[in-house]
Amino acid sequence: MSDDMPMLDCRSAMQQLWDYVDGELTAERMQAVERHLDACANCHPHAEFAERFLAALHQTREDRSCPQDVRAKVMASLRDAGMKVT
């Protein structure tokens, strides 16, 4: 995106915010939203909040893993099904 392209307005930037933090926009749109967020004191905190929220959500991975007894059951059923590597 060139510098002389018109800046996104706040509404457009916010409409694309989740797609932006998820990295789901095209490179050009990513740049456009980033440029707006860098320059807009109102929208920038929204992006920061969204990123912190998603980071906290991602941390819940640590909270739930497959219990050992379930692993053992899975491996036993795979052996019963003919799997030779356990």
Binding site: M14, E24, F53, L57, T60, R61, P67
Partner: protein, 200 residues
Amino acid sequence: MNDSVPPADARDVEFARDALPYMDDVYRFAYSLTRNAADADDLVQETYLRAFRSWHTFQPGSDARRWLFTICRNAFLRSREKLRHEVDVEDSDMETLVAVMNQGEMRKDGSDQLLSRVDLAPALTKALDELAEPFRSTVILVDVEDQSYDAASEVLGVPVGTVRSRLFRGRRQLQEKLRAYARDAGFASAGNPAQEPNDV
């Protein structure tokens, strides 16, 4: 050498290498679908059995985790004889704006401070467990398991636009649950009127 144990064939070695390391991920996704440990246990076993038996259909080099998630979801649907009749709102732009407004409310009443707390994961895990389907499985796939919108679309068997809509609504509902949690924990000022961002 023990002659009673036959040597592992290539399929078994590949399956052990490419599919077994994702058992935690499959378990989390299974739990998100079933919402209880006993059913999640059964679903994980069923998923891995189906995956092992159909390993010949797996494309080497493709995303094994995504493939396992798809098998898991299909096994879940078959077990519940559930039809894909969920109705979704497709106005994702509006969903995004509403979610952003909710963020603004959290920042204004101070409940966003909760996000910097180290003990937030249990509260979020509880909020995730309480989230209704089909939002829960979508949020789990994208936000917890790092699947792209395209991958989640493939796993869930719905268009990408539906993934976005479910994701944004799910996130909004989680934020609302966090606000309530923040108020209960004394992080937020309950009396503050909700305000929307000035220019959104």
